[in-house]
C-alpha cells in the first residue's frame, strides 16, 4: 500500500508542474468529491443554511484535510499496514477535536450552530478517502496539492449551495465577522405590503439536496467526459 510511486522519477518537479496542477484542478470539477464522487454529502446538506457556517465548515475541513494528508504522507513508510486505517482515524479524530476546541474558544456562536457537524468531519468520507488513496502512497508535496484540491472542491459546492439557500431562504447574506446582511428593502415583503416572500422551504434540508442536484445536472451536461450512457 505504501509503495512510493514518486521515487521512480529522480528529476525535480517544478511547483506548478502539469501533474501538480492536475492534482489541484481535477477535484474542482472532473472528480469533485461532492458532485461526482458523492462523498461527504451529509455535512453539505446540513450546514448550508447560511454562508457564514459554510465558510467556517469549509475552512475546518480544509485544515483537517491538509494536515491529515501531510502527517500521513510523512509517516507513510512507518505506518504498519495492518493498523493503517486505525492510525488514519486517530490522526483525523485528533485534528477534528483540535478544530472543535479552537472554534469553541474563538467562534462560540458558530461552533454552536455547527454543533455535531464539526465532530462529524471525522467520518467525512472525503478525508479518509484521500488519506487512504493518495497520502499513503505519495510524498508530502503532492499530498498537500491533493488536499487543497479536494478541500476546495468540497468548499465551492458548499459555498454555492449556501449562497443560493441563504439568498432565497432568508433574503440575506452573511459573512464571518459581518453578521447577516439583509439586502432586500423591507417594503418589498408581503408583510409590509410588497410582493416578495422568503421561501422557507429553502431553509429546510431537502432543498440542499435539490440545489446539489442542480449543480450535478449542470456539471454533467456541460462536460463531455462525465456523460454516461
Amino acid at each position: 500500500m505504501s509503495t512510493d510511486n514518486s521515487l521512480a522519477t529522480p528529476k525535480r518537479e517544478s511547483l506548478f508542474s502539469k501533474k501538480n496542477r492536475k492534482l489541484l484542478k481535477d477535484p474542482l470539477s472532473d472528480s469533485n468529491p461532492i458532485t461526482i464522487q458523492v462523498l461527504g454529502i451529509c455535512s453539505a446538506l446540513a450546514i448550508t443554511v447560511q454562508l457564514q457556517q459554510a465558510v467556517i465548515m469549509s475552512l475546518s475541513v480544509l485544515f483537517v484535510m491538509i494536515s491529515g494528508n501531510v502527517i500521513v504522507s510523512l509517516l507513510r513508510n512507518l505506518i504498519p499496514d495492518r493498523i493503517r486505517i486505525i492510525v488514519q482515524l486517530v490522526i483525523v479524530a485528533s485534528l477534528v477535536i483540535i478544530v472543535d476546541e479552537v472554534l469553541k474558544a474563538y467562534q462560540p456562536d458558530i461552533s454552536e450552530k455547527l454543533s455535531v457537524f464539526v465532530g462529524l468531519i471525522i467520518t467525512n468520507c472525503i478525508i479518509m478517502g484521500r488519506l487512504e488513496a493518495f497520502a499513503l502512497a505519495n510524498k508530502p508535496g503532492p499530498s498537500v496539492f491533493d488536499a487543497i484540491g479536494n478541500g476546495m472542491g468540497y468548499a465551492w459546492v458548499l459555498l454555492v449551495v449556501s449562497i443560493v439557500r441563504e439568498i432565497f431562504g432568508s433574503g440575506a447574506i452573511s459573512l464571518p465577522g459581518m453578521g447577516q446582511v439583509k439586502f432586500l428593502p423591507q417594503d418589498w415583503f408581503i408583510a409590509s405590503g410588497g410582493f416578495y416572500e422568503n421561501n422557507n422551504f429553502m431553509i429546510l434540508p431537502p432543498m440542499a439536496l435539490v440545489v446539489v442536484g442542480i449543480i450535478i445536472w449542470i456539471q454533467r451536461s456541460s462536460n463531455e467526459a462525465l456523460i454516461e450512457d
Binding site: 513508510n77 512507518l78 504498519p80 485528533s94 477535536i97 483540535i98 462560540p108 434540508p205
Partner: protein
C-alpha cells in the same frame, strides 16, 4: 541563508525517516505495538495541551452563554458581547439554597467569575453528573425583575436527553406557580428532532402554563394533549426521549425549589 538552513533540516529529517525505513520490518507485531503506543502518547499530549490552553476562553464563553440563556428565559434578547452589562440590569439577586429551602448565599451586581461563593458560579451540570444526593448540594436561584417591575424567579434545570446532557432555565412569575418563560439547550441531540428543544417555537409553549400542586409538577405529553390542560405542553415529534428528559428535569428541580417557595409564602402570610 534561510533557504539553505531549511534545505539542510529537510535532508536531515528525510535521512532519519530513511533509517527507520531500512531498519525495521513494519509488519512485525512488536513494531505494530510500539507504533501504537508512541502514537497514542503523542496524540494524547497534543490533545491535553490544546484542551488546557483553551479552557479559560471556553469558560468565559460558557459564562456569557449562561447569562444570555438566563435573560432569554425572561424574554430579554441580548448578545454574548452585551451579556455582561445586561445581566445585572435584569437579574437583581442571585441566591443559593440547600435542599431544605434555606438560603445559603446571596450576591448581586456584576458577576465575578473567581468568586466561588457567588451562586452564579455553581456548576449545576457538574452536580447533576456527580449523582450526589440533593441534601449535599446547593442550588442557584436568580431573582429577576420583569419590565413591569414584578419579581421573576429563574431556575436552572439539568437533565439527560437521548445522546447527552440537556439543560435550560425556567422562569416563574411572582406567584411562584405560573411559568413566565423558558429556554432550553442541549449538547448532542439529533438536529431536526430532539435538538428542537432549543428553538423558541418549543420554549414559547411554556409561557403562561402553571405548575401542579404536587409532583409531577409539569409534564411533556406525547400525543393527545388536551388544549385546556394548563400543566403540560406537547412534546416534539420524533424527539420523545429528549422531550421526556425535559419534563423529568423540570419536575425534579421544581420539587427541590418548592420548599424554598413554601417558606417564602409562609413568611409573607405571617
Amino acid at each position: 541563508m534561510i533557504t539553505t538552513f531549511f534545505k539542510q533540516t529537510l535532508t536531515a529529517v528525510k535521512s532519519v525517516f530513511r533509517i527507520f525505513d531500512m531498519a525495521i520490518n513494519k509488519n512485525n507485531t512488536g513494531y505494530t505495538f510500539l507504533f501504537s503506543i508512541i502514537m497514542v502518547l503523542i496524540v494524547g499530549t497534543a490533545l491535553a495541551y490544546t484542551s488546557l490552553s483553551l479552557k479559560p476562553l471556553q469558560k468565559k464563553n460558557a459564562a456569557d452563554k449562561k447569562m444570555v440563556d438566563i435573560l432569554g428565559a425572561i424574554g430579554v434578547t441580548t448578545t454574548r458581547e452585551n451579556a455582561k452589562t445586561d445581566f445585572p440590569i435584569y437579574v437583581k439577586e442571585r441566591l443559593s439554597i440547600d435542599s431544605e429551602g434555606t438560603v445559603l448565599n446571596n450576591s448581586s451586581g456584576n458577576v465575578d467569575p473567581a468568586d466561588s461563593s457567588d451562586p452564579f458560579n455553581l456548576d449545576v451540570k457538574k452536580d447533576y453528573r456527580s449523582k450526589k444526593p440533593a441534601s449535599e448540594l446547593s442550588f442557584p436561584l436568580y431573582v429577576c425583575e420583569s419590565d413591569l417591575g414584578d419579581k421573576v424567579y429563574v431556575i436552572p434545570v439539568v437533565g439527560s436527553g437521548l445522546w447527552g446532557p440537556i439543560w435550560g432555565f425556567v422562569a416563574l412569575e411572582s406567584d411562584m406557580n405560573t411559568i413566565y418563560g423558558a429556554k432550553f439547550d442541549h449538547k448532542t441531540e439529533t438536529p431536526g428532532l430532539g435538538a428542537e428543544i432549543k428553538d423558541n417555537e418549543f420554549s414559547d409553549k411554556f409561557k403562561g402554563q402553571k405548575l401542579r400542586e404536587a409532583s409531577p409538577y409539569f409534564t411533556i405529553i406525547k400525543g393527545g394533549r388536551k388544549i385546556e390542560d394548563m400543566h403540560s405542553v406537547d412534546g416534539i415529534t420524533g424527539g420523545t426521549i429528549t422531550s421526556v428528559g425535559v419534563g423529568e428535569m423540570i419536575d425534579r428541580t421544581i420539587s427541590i425549589y418548592q420548599r424554598y417557595f413554601m417558606s417564602l409564602t409562609n413568611s409573607s402570610a405571617n
